[in-house]
């Protein structure tokens, strides 16, 4: 846990707020081609045209005029940690990134505020044609590949904050796994939003080509400030015929963060898309990963947990659209709330008439650790195929006094008993994470239970 941060020298911090000048300035500083600027400007128009969401948590406290959308650290991108400026490197060392890279990752990207400061991938993957680079470099180095997919999964018009994202996007990762290549060790990108009153708008684009496979891990965190920060990233995933992609996220935002992230996957024939998601921190989160099962026999699975403490409102859920025949989706969602925090599961299952013989199973379990916390389940199902199988199970309950008594009668202090129950409750999700991340998640759970201020 990082309580204080090294404030690096910033090369450039945009003016607060959002204007055409700011957007043009970001593009100029990045030396972008016109087609990219055109997308930004079109998105800016959309941003002005679209209205704020009328549902979900209130975003009244969020004022874009208080947010700097582009914050460039005084460092260019490196592929060697030794060259990353000491104060920035320190942050990532404390987060365990370089060690994780040595131990079990096939590649790492690290973003600090608006720019990627480190990116590296193992030689052997390069020789297999795997591309893993920061998104800005991809725009320059692989323009054709990027153009073919960029904005094709998540369009500019999706919602107001995606329009904002496309207007000021910066950083993020680009991955291409060629046909039939299996990347056996995970790739990880880490996003650190460090500067107060600023936003992070990274764009992640991943293409897993036919029969290929990849596990991608995304980590996010930010130190605590008194002013609000905004995270409006975008993740576009393409899983081609017979491919497999697992996208794991452990987000640990500070409690002053508006996390309005958008993630979506297009899943082709016989392809598999797995989401594993741990959402911690943030003041307000609105996060609804989505799979569109376009191909026949495409499958998707979502396993997620969110934990809301005092002053937090975490509105999350999984959305799936079944288009192809014999498609299948499975959702295991768990949420915890404590100290007056609120969690909401807001999901969608839509099975189109074309998706014959498709099935969907949704299971939501919400645990409240006290009487003042809240939890809600708002599942929407829209089943348009007559032979679809759909089932939804939802449970909302308070932590059991009897279970606490049982554990305490074996010598565990009340706090340990609660922590054990909560860890057990979270285990279906932590089991899906690589060991190191499961450990990290348990640590976050313990911190939340102790009510430690980050």
């Amino acid at each position: 846990m990082i309580t204080k941060d090294n404030s690096p020298d910033y090369e450039y911090v945009s003016q607060k707020g959002l204007t055409r000048e700011i957007v043009e300035d970001i593009s100029r500083r990045k030396g972008e081609e016109k087609w990219v600027l055109d997308i930004r400007l079109k998105a800016l128009e959309m941003y002005y045209a679209l209205s704020m969401p009328t549902w979900g948590p209130s975003l009244e406290e969020l004022n874009i005029d208080d947010i700097a959308t582009y914050v460039k650290p005084a460092s260019s991108m490196k592929d060697n940690w030794d060259e990353v400026p000491e104060n920035i490197k320190d942050t990532f060392v404390k987060l365990g990134i370089p060690k994780a890279e040595r131990d079990y990752l096939a590649g790492v990207g690290a973003q600090y505020d608006s720019e990627v400061v480190y990116h590296n991938i193992k030689e052997e993957l390069l020789s297999q044609g795997v591309i893993y680079t920061d998104f800005d470099s991809a725009l320059v180095e692989y323009p054709d590949l990027v153009k073919q997919y960029f904005t094709k999964c998540v369009p500019l018009t999706e919602h107001k904050f995606i329009a904002l994202h496309y207007a000021v996007f910066s950083g993020g990762s680009f991955v291409y796994v060629p046909r039939g290549v299996h990347v056996t060790m995970p790739l990880q990108s880490y996003f650190r939003l460090n500067s107060p009153e600023s936003g992070q708008f990274e764009h992640t684009l991943i293409i897993v080509d036919e029969g290929a496979s990849l596990h991608f891990i995304e980590g996010c965190s930010a130190p605590k400030y008194n002013k609000f920060n905004l995270h409006a990233g975008c993740v576009e995933l393409f899983v081609k015929k017979g491919g497999t992609l697992r996208y794991s996220t452990v987000e640990n935002w500070s409690k002053n963060m508006f996390n309005l992230n958008t993630k979506k996957a297009i899943v082709e024939e016989d392809a598999v898309m797995e989401w594993v998601s741990g959402s911690f921190g943030s003041h307000i989160s609105m996060l609804y990963p989505m799979s569109i099962l376009v191909g026949d026999r495409a499958r998707t699975e979502y396993t997620g947990i969110s934990f809301a403490g005092e002053g937090q409102n975490l509105d999350t859920g999984f959305k799936v659209i079944h288009v192809g025949k014999d498609t299948n989706s499975v959702v295991h969602s768990r949420s915890l709330s404590k100290g007056g925090g609120k969690t909401t599961y807001r999901g969608l299952v839509r099975i189109m008439p074309s998706a014959t013989h498709s099935s969907s199973f949704v299971d939501c379990d919400n645990l409240m650790l006290d009487d003042i916390s809240k939890s809600d389940t708002i599942p929407v199902s829209d089943i348009r195929s007559s032979d679809a199988t759909f089932s939804h199970e939802a449970k909302v309950g308070k932590i059991s006094d009897k279970a606490i008594f049982y554990l305490m009668s074996r010598g565990l202090m009340e706090s340990d008993a609660k922590a054990m129950i909560v860890r057990g409750f979270a285990s279906p999700i932590s089991k899906e994470l690589p060991l190191e991340y499961a450990v990290e998640m348990n640590r976050l759970i313990n911190l939340e239970l102790e009510g430690e201020i980050q």
Binding site: F405, Y406, S409, G411, L412, M413, D416, I421, A426, S427
Partner: protein, 248 residues
């Protein structure tokens, strides 16, 4: 002989309804006490109260354990002092394996680190004496266990944690004949000169294997009669009819 537990004029209620109505009980080391009483009399409430279950409010009286007043101590503290309760209805805890739970409990109660490999080895003979398969250790605690498996798991914990006072709340109910034998063997192995047993039961099954030194008839929140093992036989034959009147 050492005093293990003394309960002096205990009154306890739940939601303002009095359940324990002036209960006295003294247990010394080496003794095996048996409490028998009709359903709903308050036997489980008593065992919960000894361990300070927060659901129940003690409105009067005093409980001492090995000379220390534990009336208002918290459940975990009482457990660490050496009181064990085999629960009538053991809770199912998802996502926590029997082994990890038991290892945590052991380290809390012994106040020192417990090493997984050593502890697993220590559990093996206990498990085989209870006719439990080793794989139980890796299952989620009590989750989807049969009634009998849950009871065996409680006895496994008893034998692993080695308390000074073991309270067994219907440890024998739901057990088949072989399981009763196995469980009794476990309890018999635990029993010694320095510890004591408080057995709550409706049947003679366990008592055929473990000789009771004291038997108490528990009706409507208090002990109405105490005696030796012959009292248990009488109750087994005639039921509680004769005692219910004694309860004014």
């Amino acid at each position: 002989m050492k005093n293990i537990l003394t309960i002096d004029n205990l009154h306890a209620s739940v939601h303002d309804k009095e359940i324990i109505k002036g209960l006295n009980l003294t247990i010394n080391s080496g003794e095996v006490h048996v409490i028998m009483g009709p359903n709903g009399a308050g036997k489980s409430t008593l065992s919960s109260c000894i361990l300070s279950n927060k659901q129940y409010v003690k409105t009067a009286g005093r409980i001492t354990f090995c000379g220390e007043d534990i009336t208002h101590a918290t459940t975990d503290v009482i457990a660490r002092k050496g009181v064990f309760l085999s629960h009538q209805l053991p809770e199912e805890i998802e996502g926590i394996s029997v082994f990890n739970f038991l290892k945590t409990a052991k380290s809390k109660i012994d106040g020192k680190n417990v090493y997984s490999t050593d502890f697993r080895k220590e559990l093996m003979p206990i498990m085989s004496s209870l006719d439990m398969s080793e794989s139980v250790l890796d299952r989620d605690l009590n989750v989807s266990f049969s009634g009998g498996e849950k009871k065996k798991c409680e006895i496994l914990q008893l034998m692993a944690l080695r308390p000074t006072l073991a309270i067994l709340d219907e440890a024998d109910s739901g057990l088949d004949t072989d399981a009763v034998k196995a469980v009794s063997k476990g309890i018999e192995m635990f029993r010694g000169e320095d510890n004591a047993l408080l057995i709550i039961t409706h049947s003679m099954k366990l008592l055929q294997h473990i000789p009771a030194t004291h038997v108490h008839v528990f009706i409507d929140g208090k002990i109405v009669k105490s005696g030796d093992s012959r009292l248990a036989e009488q109750i087994d034959m005639r039921g509680y009819e004769g005692y219910k009147g004694e309860n004014g």
